[in-house]
């Protein structure tokens, strides 16, 4: 693991004393990781694969695929709303923590928004890793207390006749919002539709892009 470490930590090089330093938190991570590897509790290759998967392969793209398919395939949409875990598994996206997925459909009357008030439970298999703001205390607290104000800050105006429902994720239950299909997308295929689906629209704080914005 030596050369790998150096690439990541070269910026701590001290030019005056020609001595490298790692930050305290880097030392703690490396201490824990190397002990776990020595004890056979984690496999370093598996760690690297997991990081690569979440950083580059998952992202919100899996979720965008799910949403685009629901927009273009009524049968899939019905299955998705009935049993989201099973429908999402049809596309090959399987939860790693054994959590159940629930898909929440936005309509003209109801708007759904997802939060985890305790920490940051998040549907990783479909959305990748959570954004920094999702993990922040202000979002976690305010999403419940004043969801309309938070939505407005995200640029999403919700009129008074629309009900806003806030869903609190748990370790066992994760939510994915199915946003409304944007107008002007008639005739677009699934791949083109998927490019309109943003991460924020699947958390429920934003809208999908319009054709031409993608």
């Amino acid at each position: 693991m030596g050369t790998h470490d150096h690439d990541h930590h070269g910026h701590h090089h001290d030019h005056d004393h020609d001595e490298q330093r790692w930050s305290e938190v880097e030392l703690r991570v490396k201490a824990l990781e190397s002990l776990l590897v020595d004890k056979g509790l984690v496999d370093p290759a598996a760690l690297d694969l997991l990081i690569e998967t979440y950083e580059t392969k998952v992202g919100p793209r899996n979720g965008a695929h799910v949403v685009a398919k629901a927009w273009s395939d009524p049968g899939f949409k019905a299955r998705l709303l009935e049993n989201a875990s099973a429908a999402i598994a049809e596309l090959g996206y399987i939860g790693r923590q054994g959590e159940d997925m629930v898909v929440l459909e936005n309509t003209d009357r109801v708007r759904n928004m997802v939060v985890c008030t305790l920490c940051s439970c998040y549907p990783w298999p479909v959305l990748g890793l959570p954004p920094v703001w999702y993990k922040s205390a202000p979002y976690r607290a305010r999403a419940v207390r004043e969801p309309r104000a938070v939505l407005a800050e995200f640029g999403t105006a919700v009129t008074e006749d629309v009900e806003v429902r806030v869903w609190d994720s748990t370790a066992e239950l994760r939510y994915l919002v199915l946003p409304q299909r944007p107008p002007g997308t008639e005739g677009m295929d699934e791949a083109a539709l998927a490019r309109l689906v943003t991460r924020d629209s699947m958390i429920g704080v934003g809208e999908p892009l319009r054709p031409g914005e993608a």
Partner: protein, 118 residues
């Protein structure tokens, strides 16, 4: 993303722009360790979520503004706490190994691979 324009108006909610969610490599390492240890059966995901939530609550009580940027620090502290509670790694082992890495890093000239002397 359409979010960039709102960044300056939002002191309360730190935003990103669909970019990488790990800001530094150690954050990714800490994330991956927890997931793999869970998959290996050391703890349930519910145990993990509870430990992490408790750590965040503790940090907030100690004055952390908790804007998301300190999230993986809490993640790491929770992970250390849980692996010690499970008896997988002891506090003494963690300290000794931390000191060994510190010494190894300092003793390694820039540009050379860092290795632990054992």
């Amino acid at each position: 993303m359409t979010t960039a324009v709102d960044l300056d108006r939002l002191p309360a909610i730190p935003r990103d722009a669909d970019g990488p969610v790990f800001r530094e490599p150690w954050e990714a390492a800490a994330f991956a360790m927890a997931v793999r240890l869970h998959q290996g059966g050391l703890f349930t995901w519910t145990e993990w979520a509870e430990t992490l939530a408790a750590e965040i609550t503790r940090a907030q009580a100690a004055g952390d503004p908790d804007r998301g940027d300190t999230y993986y620090r809490h993640w790491l502290a929770a992970l250390e706490r849980l692996v010690k509670a499970k008896g997988a790694v002891s506090d003494a082992e963690l300290h000794a190994r931390r000191d060994a890495w510190d010494a190894a890093v300092r003793a390694t000239p820039h540009g050379k691979p860092i290795v632990l002397q054992r």
